[in-house]
Subunit: 144 residues, 2 copies
């Protein structure tokens, strides 16, 4: 299992908006860069818009960031594109046998451990901003 590539695509979209400033960015343009169908991009634009990360308007080409890139973390993107639900990175089998010592308690024992692991992962994401990503990309461009 892997977390949906929507997350990476979301980061791609936001980075491109920031890097390609001055260019009018449409869903078709983004689809070309990401190499997918424009509808996939538009669906994601809807999610990023709903999360308050971008500004888009029907009928008008041109997407803009709704915040400065240093104020957008990868965790914001991760939540926006809905790849992992809160407390549900790990799943626990339902209906273990309640007459069994282990079956009765396994869920409540394991759940906080799973949540702690998920939070540790999410904390790393929240410590990286879109600006960090964009700067890394631009540093690679400068080398060539």
């Amino acid at each position: 299992m892997s977390i949906s590539s929507r997350f990476a695509v979301g980061i791609h979209i936001l980075s491109l908006i920031n890097v390609d400033q001055g260019v009018t960015i449409s869903s078709d343009y983004l689809a070309g860069s990401v190499n997918t169908n424009p509808v996939v991009i538009r669906r994601m634009m809807g999610m990023l818009k709903k999360a308050g990360l971008i500004e888009v308007r029907p009928g008008i080409a041109g997407i803009k960031l709704a915040k400065e890139p240093e104020l957008i973390t990868l965790f914001d993107v991760y939540k926006a594109v809905d790849v992992v639900q809160e407390k549900e990175l790990f799943s626990i089998h339902e209906n273990p046998h309640p007459d069994c010592t282990v079956g009765k308690h396994i869920q409540s024992t394991v759940e906080p451990l799973f949540i702690a692991a998920q939070l540790a992962m999410e904390k790393v994401l929240s410590n990286v901003t879109l600006l960090d990503v964009v700067e890394d990309i631009e540093s690679k461009v400068a080398l060539t």
Copy 2:
């Protein structure tokens, strides 16, 4: 998306082996406690055996831990049941457009960030042992 419940079931199986000592544990018995099909359990027993966590022999009922419970971490179980591949908790869209600044560099920029997040999650799992889980379950039993 969620990580397969195989992980939670694996923890359940190992905990039960440790808690229900003295009882002869078969795949049917485990299936009853987990509330699933015995074949699902046997498949998992194969994985846990292959990872060196349990000892099972064909034809003989009775599963044993291959190590002391304080030497088995949740990370060991996680690797054994093969729920997430190394470096692949997150997936990245393939074939972004190479003529585009962002498309050309997004993968190499994002990958180390994703790996760092995954490692942080896995580190939490490696700091919890089967003994911790078993003691937590037994402390709950003692309260009733």
